[in-house]
């Protein structure tokens, strides 16, 4: 099973709960997709507040439409489509044109719209992001070799635990444990910053 399929399986489990009346479960989807949606809508809007407005509206529309979601497509594809439509509607309402290069829903996951808003982000926001990235890099560089390799293959090469286990010639359970220990070290550092 691919990473996307596995992630979608989790999403569907959460969606199923929301569809059965558990509103609180929807927050897990917000946590998971808020940053990805914000990156996705960047080409359409101009500043931080607009990004937040469009992302918020996207999630609310998604919640309202959730009873009609049947799982025919991946949840994130469905959500990204709502986000793009919401962005376009937002522009129409503002009497502005959509960006020249439209973002395809299929490519949206890999889309990096970050540069479009660099001039409009606050210095505090940039500093916070840089601090987090720097902290992560520092922790990773200080990790024992086996943890460093495991987390690097997972995060930067997007390998599955099975693939990492093959490469590192160890059981999958060991890979899982090593990745967790790497994340634990990162979390201890990040906790202080947030």
């Amino acid at each position: 099973m691919s990473d996307n399929e596995s992630q979608n399986k989790i999403d569907l489990e959460i969606v199923r709960r929301v569809q059965r009346g558990d509103k609180g479960a929807f927050d897990l989807l917000v946590i998971k997709y808020q940053h990805k949606l914000a990156k996705l809508v960047l080409p359409y809007v101009h500043d931080r507040d607009e990004v937040l407005d469009v992302v918020q509206e996207t999630f609310i529309k998604a919640y309202k439409a959730l009873p009609r979601f049947r799982g025919d497509s991946a949840f994130y594809t469905w959500l990204y489509r709502i986000a793009i439509n919401t962005s376009k509607n937002y522009l129409t309402a503002q009497s502005r044109r959509p960006p020249r290069s439209d973002v395809d829903v299929v490519d949206a996951e890999f889309y990096d719209g970050g540069s479009a808003m660099h001039d409009n982000t606050t210095p505090e926001a940039s500093l916070a992001t840089e601090q987090i990235k720097e902290a992560i890099n520092q922790v990773i560089s200080g990790l024992p070799e086996e943890l460093k390799i495991a987390i690097t293959l997972r995060e930067f090469e997007a390998m599955s635990y099975d693939e990492i286990a093959d490469i590192m010639d160890c059981p999958v359970g060991t890979v899982r444990s090593r990745i967790f220990r790497a994340r634990e070290a990162i979390d201890n550092e990040i906790k202080v910053l947030l």
Partner: protein, 249 residues
């Protein structure tokens, strides 16, 4: 160095800390979608019931987004987005879709037998809340049985009383369809006679088991299943079994 620290610390760790580490390891696998099927439901349950666990998830997700260059600077400095969404959802009705996306059937059946599930919820800071929920649900069902006896000669009002008693059922206003009772297979439900001691033989014949709305039946059963899972986690006293029926003359 980290490894050395862990080797030094691990023998002195309390069971609780070891459990926490196991839970956190499962959360790490969950972020990578590398958890087992049975863990999926359990981790989601934990995230919904343990605020500390959820905070850990939020941080882990942020780190994950950061490492994949998916982090948004607009959101990283805003604590309002989730609050605003949550606030907006408060004014919207909860969904009760009859055709909820179905997957991983059978997972919930295994939960009650899974020792990790028990550990998980013992760890939860919301332990008392869940226990309270279980007790409240138990009281609700006892009340329903009482109402059944009290109102056995007022079949028209009975279902309304049931709906008024149950907060869960109120959110799906279809009071004429619901009642909970002792376990009966669905095939039996269409023909069996209600066996209330309060009823005389003539009255018994008036009340027949007939099939209720299947969708509503599923919904109630799911609620009871979840209740049963919580009950099992705390070794609470005995099972509450359910069937749905509609009173008719």
């Amino acid at each position: 160095m980290l490894k050395q620290q862990q080797q030094t610390n691990e023998p002195n760790m309390s069971d609780q800390k070891l459990n926490d580490r196991k839970l956190n390891e499962r959360l790490s696998a969950f972020i990578d979608a590398e958890q087992s099927d049975i863990e999926t439901s359990l981790i989601i349950d934990a995230l919904l019931n343990d605020s500390e666990y959820k905070q850990q998830y939020i941080r882990s997700q942020l780190v994950n987004d950061c490492m994949n260059e998916q982090v948004s600077e607009a959101i990283i400095t805003s604590n309002d987005l989730r609050n605003n969404i949550s606030h907006a959802l408060e004014s919207l009705p909860a969904h009760f879709s009859d055709d909820a996306v179905s997957l991983q059937a059978g997972i919930t059946e295994d939960i009650a037998n899974n020792s990790w599930f028990q550990t998980l919820f013992k760890k939860s800071s919301e332990h008392k809340v869940i226990s309270g929920l279980s007790v409240a649900a138990s009281v609700m069902f006892v009340t329903l049985f009482s109402l059944q006896s009290l109102n056995s000669d007022q079949s028209g009002q009975f279902s309304d009383n049931v709906a008024a008693t149950s907060g869960v059922l109120q959110s799906q206003p279809n009071p004429s369809l619901i009642q909970l009772s002792s376990s009966l297979p669905a095939s039996y439900a269409s023909t069996a006679t209600v066996g209330s001691n309060a009823m005389n033989q003539d009255k018994k014949q008036k009340y027949q088991w007939i099939e209720a709305d299947p969708a509503l039946s599923r919904q109630v059963r799911q609620y009871i299943n979840e209740h049963e899972n919580y009950r099992a986690a705390y070794n609470l006293q005995p099972k509450i079994r359910t069937a749905t029926y509609q009173l008719s003359e």
